[in-house]
């Protein structure tokens, strides 16, 4: 089975702290994504990566950065956490994009990391 593992299920941090959220997938997926989920807003894409060392901004990248040094690992970084970044963070991965005929577009999600910033 595909497995996407997020390093922490629950974190509590203070305003101004640097926060690292780690995500590892074991299916050799090219694409990896970070979403945040807030009540009533659904999932919003923060950043994604389609290859090692490659990254693209999603819809809400402000206040976040990412790192993909290895294919299986995608990290989300909050340089200086703020209270409005309190949220559920979801990592996902998928096979390569639509130019590959075998791509389904299906996303595989981790269990989520619930971050509280005080």
């Amino acid at each position: 089975d595909v497995k996407v593992t997020q390093s922490s299920r629950y974190l509590v941090k203070r305003t101004g702290e640097k926060v690292f959220l780690e995500c590892v997938q074991d299916m050799d997926h090219e694409n990896m994504f970070w979403y945040r989920q807030d009540p009533g807003l659904g999932l919003r894409l923060i950043y994604f990566s389609y290859d090692v060392k490659m990254k693209e901004k999603g819809d809400i990248p402000e206040g976040y950065s990412v790192s993909r040094e290895k294919k299986e690992r995608f990290s989300l970084i909050l340089e200086s956490a703020s209270t409005n970044q309190t949220s559920m963070y979801l990592c996902a991965s998928s096979f390569a994009g639509p130019w590959r005929k075998e791509s389904t577009g299906e996303l595989f999600f981790g269990e989520g990391s619930r971050l509280t910033v005080l």
Partner: protein, 109 residues
């Protein structure tokens, strides 16, 4: 925005009844997907329907897609208490998979 929007926001039914959730979107799509999320957990992919398909089945799930109306529906037949979850439609695929806010389904035993 291609965001999918689900309707209703919440649905409460008895075990054994069918549950229908609808999704509308705004622009052309390659595919539409439905996901399920149990409380406090990650999302699990249920089914994908491509833009050239009209209907798809998977077990107790039936998905329809009407690209002329930019809408899709998810039908869960003979629902069970274990189907209690939030259900999301997602449009696009590839890099830009855009999710709606979800429908919360509660199935009473």
């Amino acid at each position: 925005s291609q965001q999918g929007e689900e309707d209703p926001q919440a649905l409460s039914i008895q075990e054994g009844e069918n549950a229908t959730m609808n999704c509308s979107y705004k622009t052309s799509i390659n595919n539409l997907q439905w996901y399920r999320q149990n409380s406090g957990r990650g999302l699990v992919h249920l089914i994908l329907i491509r833009s050239n398909e009209r209907e798809k089945h998977s077990g107790r799930l039936r998905v329809t897609l009407d690209t002329s109306k930019k809408s899709s529906s998810l039908l869960i037949t003979a629902s069970r208490a274990a189907d209690t979850a939030s259900y999301f439609c997602a449009v696009g695929g590839g890099f830009k998979t855009i999710f709606g806010a979800g429908t919360r389904l509660f199935v009473k035993a």
